[in-house]
């Protein structure tokens, strides 16, 4: 089966040409995909900014071993205070993982997806990984399975992957050039030898590309993750994006490098910096002409439980699930009802958006022959597609771009630091200063309410606070604010000039 889904003629709505109204929703980056794929991913919380407010996911940490070293990874994975990929609190046996999955699925019926993502490489632990998948396919058939891998042993496992309920595989591909790879991967374990440097990177890259091709040939959806490492693979990722698209990956997720000294990774210790929000966005924009980009990845831990960005793992520790008595057949019935309800709600929202589409088309000054530069705005929301969060309560902001083409979702900006530990973890920064820094590049922030102190500080930072659109749909509000900026002359050339002089 050929999965050639990203041809230009099938996906006319690229970032530049897509107005929110034409796409139905820029919340839903999956709207360009053919129905067959959309059906597979519509209730997957990781694939749509909208679905992740309704559906939950979990990872089970059954795969500790790894067969390569990445400079952004520290193989000491056990830290309760860190939230990033490759970190877990307790390892599970396949039996414990099945128990935990059923316990979570029964207690959080919105949970639709079970992933194995580490803390090592799932396919470097084939027995533990496949035992878990085999049992879940049989005992909990209503759960979708997915797996992520560095790709080194992927080709030899494609047959086995195709046997289970697995319709998504994520391959982390950071490069296709061994020169670049040698700066990211110091060694691999291959055919019982340790291979280093460019030779190692060459083998890894070959295996990743071969695995990608084999999965696509089998009709298994492939998402590609890339870690953006400034000065190492930033420019190179544009080529990577093009090639993985050509080979049939359906989605590319470029994530920022997380490298803090206290994480103990090679990059962290050596002072390799991560990208700024702007660098990440620029690269995602540069790739989006070629490839469907994912913009709302929250870079979860390898044992995360719950909605994207939240972690309810502490409710399902080994001793707690041991005490639970789960009737999975009964749970499946409840789950089916809950899922149907959510799907109906989402369908209704989609219809409403389509009805509103005509209203949203920029009119008046925007549609006039004058064109204005695009503007970034941040939004505080706890979900539901509306502006409904207090500025001070937001742990992240969604960033939208308004332009003459409409409104599009750009990404999210975290306010909390990656490490939620105490003062021993690096420099402390006031939460407010952190929020304002996280919003750099944005010219307005829309929230339900905002306090006096942040109001002044935001204005000083050139970000207009706005609480006038509480409980209103995000995209309409962003477009209204954009139009207000235009009609008040803020985006006129003269006013821009004045701003530059100041």
């Amino acid at each position: 089966m050929e999965l050639n889904v990203l041809n230009a003629d099938q996906a006319p709505a690229t970032a530049e040409g897509c107005s929110a109204s034409a796409c139905g929703s820029s919340n839903d980056q999956m709207s360009h995909l053919p129905d067959s794929i959309r059906e597979k991913v519509q209730n997957h919380p990781c694939y749509s900014e909208e679905a992740h407010h309704y559906f939950a996911r979990m990872h089970v940490a059954v795969a500790p071993a790894c067969n390569i070293q990445c400079h952004y990874c520290n193989r000491k994975y056990d830290c309760a205070n860190e939230s990033r990929p490759g970190v877990v609190s307790e390892l599970l046996t396949p039996d414990q993982a099945v128990k935990k999955t059923k316990a979570v699925a029964a207690n959080i019926p919105q949970m639709t997806v079970l992933g194995i993502a580490g803390p090592g490489d799932p396919l470097a632990n084939p027995e533990r990984t496949f035992e878990t998948f085999r049992r879940l396919s049989a005992e909990a058939p209503d759960i979708k399975l997915c797996v992520s891998t560095n790709g080194l042993t992927l080709p030899m496992h494609v047959e086995e992957l195709a046997k289970h309920n697995i319709d998504h595989v994520t391959i982390t591909i950071n490069c296709i050039d061994p020169e670049v790879g040698a700066k990211i991967y110091p060694w691999i374990y291959w055919n019982n030898r340790r291979i280093r440097g460019k030779a190692a990177a060459r083998i890894l890259i070959q295996q990743q590309q071969k695995g990608l091709e084999m999965l696509v040939a089998k009709g298994i959806l492939v998402k590609v993750n890339s870690v953006l490492i400034p000065g190492v693979n930033d420019e190179h990722l544009k080529v990577v994006s093009k090639i993985v698209k050509e080979k049939g990956a359906f989605l590319h997720n470029v994530m920022p490098l997380i490298a803090e000294e206290e994480h103990g990774t090679f990059y962290g210790v050596m002072g390799q910096r991560g990208p700024t929000d702007e660098e990440l966005q620029d690269l995602q924009d540069a790739c989006s002409g070629d490839m469907n980009m994912m913009r709302h990845c929250r870079q979860c831990r390898a044992d995360a439980v719950g909605m994207l960005g939240e972690d309810r793992g502490s409710e399902f520790t080994l001793d707690k699930i041991e005490a639970m008595d789960i009737d999975y057949d009964a749970a499946m019935k409840t789950r089916a009802i809950v899922h149907k309800g959510i799907e109906e709600e989402l369908a209704e929202k989609q219809l409403k958006r389509e009805r509103l589409a005509g209203v949203k088309v920029p009119s008046g000054p925007v549609a006039a022959n004058k064109s204005f530069r695009p503007v970034l705005m941040a939004v505080a929301t706890s979900g539901g597609g509306v502006i409904n969060q207090h500025f001070g309560h937001a742990t992240e902001f969604l960033v939208y771009e308004a332009s003459g083409n409409g409104v599009r979702f750009i990404g999210h900006r975290k306010v909390d630091q990656y490490c939620i530990g105490n003062n021993t973890c690096g420099e402390k920064e006031s939460a407010l200063a952190g929020s304002i820094r996280a919003l750099s590049g944005c010219e307005a922030v829309l929230c339900s309410k905002i306090g006096y102190e942040p109001w002044g500080l935001l204005e000083d930072a050139g970000i207009a606070p706005n609480g006038e659109y509480a409980m209103e749909p995000i995209e309409e509000a962003v477009m209204s604010v954009y139009q207000e900026m235009i009609s008040s002359g803020k985006l006129d050339a003269e006013s821009e000039l004045k701003k530059a002089e100041v």
Binding site: R75, Y77, G120, A124, P186, Y189
Partner: protein
């Protein structure tokens, strides 16, 4: 003759899966090698497998007590070249 694992081990499991002699024990605070079972992979592989996949420099010692993966051997940066590497990486 046998290899040994010392306290810098992070219990990542990689060695257990690749040991041809089932000589590695999932012990706490860190994994251990049963010296009676360890063959140093003699006759099975050219290199001792645990030390070939181990991600931690210095965590596995040979029969003489020397680290099989000394400092700098896994990061690819020899100690004397570290300052140069730091400069290059921090300029990115």
């Amino acid at each position: 003759m046998a290899l040994s694992i010392i306290e810098s081990c992070v219990n990542c499991w990689a060695c257990i899966d690749v040991c041809p002699s089932e000589a590695i024990v999932e012990a706490r605070p860190h994994f251990l090698i049963e010296s009676k079972k360890c063959t140093e992979c003699e006759g099975d592989y050219a290199d001792p497998q645990c030390a070939t996949i181990c991600p931690i420099e210095g965590a596995i010692l040979n029969a003489f007590g020397d680290p099989i993966n000394p400092e700098g051997s896994l990061t690819g940066i020899k100690p004397e070249l570290r300052d140069e590497a730091l400069k290059e990486i921090q300029a990115r």
